[in-house]
């Protein structure tokens, strides 16, 4: 397949690894903040091919993992209402809330449907005018435009029964909060598709303020290896900056049309990140003119904040302070079939990736 297979070339991969080994001297720590990178690194075994002075950490890059449990609880509460159809990305369906998951509610009779595109959710709303269709919106810069399109479409089509429960988030404030919170890293492997939409400019301030490298990377093995090489080069020269490896999909300004669509529908708000805590201006909520689509305002959604499961280190793992192996639950009680913490639920969660691909 074009633009995929050529980036999985065995020989070119070893060229890159040899070059990394050749120039790398200093001990460095790089964090990936995109679950797609976590997965690719584990799936292709990249972490085991690097010299020992290069350490890779997994950050809060999985939207499911950083979504607070109260959000899941709200979606579950909605699913229990007879008049509600929940339309959700498959990623969310097995995530444990406080007492249940959407999957469990579905098996007890709730109408929960898995969709791939928000346009399918709109179609379901149109076909079921007597029902209220709720879409729990998760994801970062990459995914939010799809939700914005759905909201604008719902308005044009005058749909009265379509609602968004937004947990959309933006990445740079969290990346900043991690460093302020003490994450000891030399650079970020920058999220590729987030940057396709938002542009590389969103990391300029971060790199200058904290003197760290950010290299925006694609998702194939050669992409990640080349990004690592670029990060190592920056560190060896002592000149950290923002650079783009994934130039076939990312530029400085990003996708302006998509940015405008999002700005017309959403505004920033404070939001909680599982593991990091409250981060100012890192969340996105619907603007007032779209409040009729806002599930938070259109339904009674009182849920209690509850502490994380006992012993679960997801918080520390998401912020790079611990690795999955440090957690007493990891691989014993907490496994993909029976996830306790969020990082085990999503197949690209750090714990799930370590569990599945560690060898």
């Amino acid at each position: 397949m074009k633009y995929l297979e050529e980036y999985r070339d065995n020989k070119l991969a070893s060229n890159l690894i040899n070059e990394i080994i050749r120039i790398s001297r200093k001990p460095v720590r790089f964090m990936e903040v995109c679950g797609g990178h976590t997965m690719a690194i584990r799936k292709f075994g990249i972490h085991k091919m690097l010299p020992p002075n290069i350490e890779l950490l997994s950050g809060p890059g999985c939207p499911v993992c950083v979504t607070e449990r109260s959000f899941i609880d709200k979606a579950i509460l909605l699913s229990k209402k007879k008049e509600v159809i929940i339309t959700t990305y498959g990623d969310l369906i097995r995530v444990p809330g406080t007492a249940s998951s959407l999957d469990q509610e579905k098996s007890s009779g709730a109408d929960v449907r898995i969709i791939y595109s928000t346009l399918e959710a709109l179609k379901i709303a149109e076909e079921n005018p007597q029902k209220k269709v709720v879409f729990p919106g998760i994801g970062f810069e990459t995914t939010t435009p799809s939700t914005a399109v759905a909201v604008l479409n719902a308005k044009v089509r005058q749909l009265q029964n379509f609602f968004i429960l937004s947990a959309h988030k933006i990445m740079p404030p969290a990346m900043e909060a991690l460093i302020k919170g003490g994450a000891d890293i030399n650079g970020y492997i920058g999220p590729g598709h987030v940057s396709t939409i938002a542009g590389s400019r969103i990391y300029d301030k971060l790199s200058v303020d904290f003197n760290i490298s950010v290299v925006i990377s694609g998702f194939e093995p050669l992409d990640i290896l080349q990004s690592l090489l670029m990060l190592v080069e920056q560190q060896e020269k002592g000149k950290p900056s923002v650079d783009i490896q994934y130039k076939r999909a990312v530029n400085y300004k990003g996708n302006l049309k998509a940015q405008k669509l999002v700005e017309s529908v959403f505004e920033t708000c404070n939001t909680g990140w599982r593991g990091i805590g409250n981060v100012p201006d890192s969340g996105l909520k619907l603007k007032d003119e779209f409040s009729r689509y806002n599930a938070e305002l259109q339904f009674e959604l009182e849920v209690k904040e509850v502490p994380e499961p006992k012993g679960c280190l997801c918080g520390n793992i998401l912020s790079g302070k611990n690795k999955p192996q440090d957690c007493k639950l990891f691989g014993k009680i907490c496994v993909p079939e029976n996830p306790i913490g969020a990082c085990m639920v999503s197949s690209e969660g750090t714990c799930a990736a370590y569990y599945r691909y560690n060898f």
């Binding site: 075994g45 085991k48 990305y89 898995i114 791939y116």
Partner: protein
Amino acid sequence: MSNQKILMGHGAGGKLSHQLIQRIFVRHFSNKSLSVLNDASVIKTSAFTAFTTDSYVIDPIFFPGGDIGKLAVSGTVNDLLVSGAVPKYLSAGFIIEEGFLIDDLVKIVASMADEARKAGVEIITGDTKVVKKGQCDKIFINTAGIGDAIESESKLWKTPKLRAGDKVIVSGCLGDHAMAVLSARSSISFEREVLSDVAPLNKLILPLYTNFPGKISFMRDVTRGGLATVLNEICADSELGIELFENKIPVRCEVEGVCEIFGYDPLYLANEGKVVIIVESETAEAILEQIKSCEFGKKAEIVGEINKRAPGRVIMNSVIGGTRIVDMLAGEMLPRIC
């Protein structure tokens, strides 16, 4: 085309039931034992008899490359074949939802009869129940099968014994069945149609027993849960493990495309006409050649080997040379955005 439907009366044991049995089942399955219509059919079997059963539910019941009837015959036939037996007789039990189109039932039964002929088996006993609308999804089929177990293949009747150095052969491209069903359920389509691989595999498997008696250590059909699940089952409690080579795993590019889009892994996709075979390394190439000469095995490959690297585990050598663990499927595979 008529739009006659199955009524509750078709399952009530009276005239309608009788008509249904005579006009559809007896007519299509036509064989001596069945046409007697006694409560049981009496047959002669060999010294060792293989016996298996499976129930078939699928949505949709007609899909590119097959239907629930073809599935119900092939699945049970293949279970007998991989256990080292020559399939002989099947039973067929139907649970049908009231209102089901009789034309659709005829299509399914004709398809079963057709596959049974290809597989050299007779459907010699059966049963039909009709349930009220909503109590089942259109039609469920159960088939049980009896086969003559081949004594030279007695290894296949027992728990597999793995030996270091044994090779793992897969008989063709993974995931075709899952993709065919997915395309029938959703708006996904293909430039070149992807058909389900559902088929009885007599032609692929029986010549192996004839030409390489006793050489096959293990064989299983790769169905739900995919290759990853079967291989994990094999080595779960063993002191040996299975090492796979990613660049050897046969997958059609259309199937790979869908996997890239939805985040699926072909190792976990369902198949209905593929087997995994473990053989001693000296005969592996010859057996592979034999498999490739069959229409169902053209894309067969040696995909891995048994060794001590990771006892009880399945590991994968990635295309760029890294390694990872291949676990069993945890829960249903869902499309994801991340």
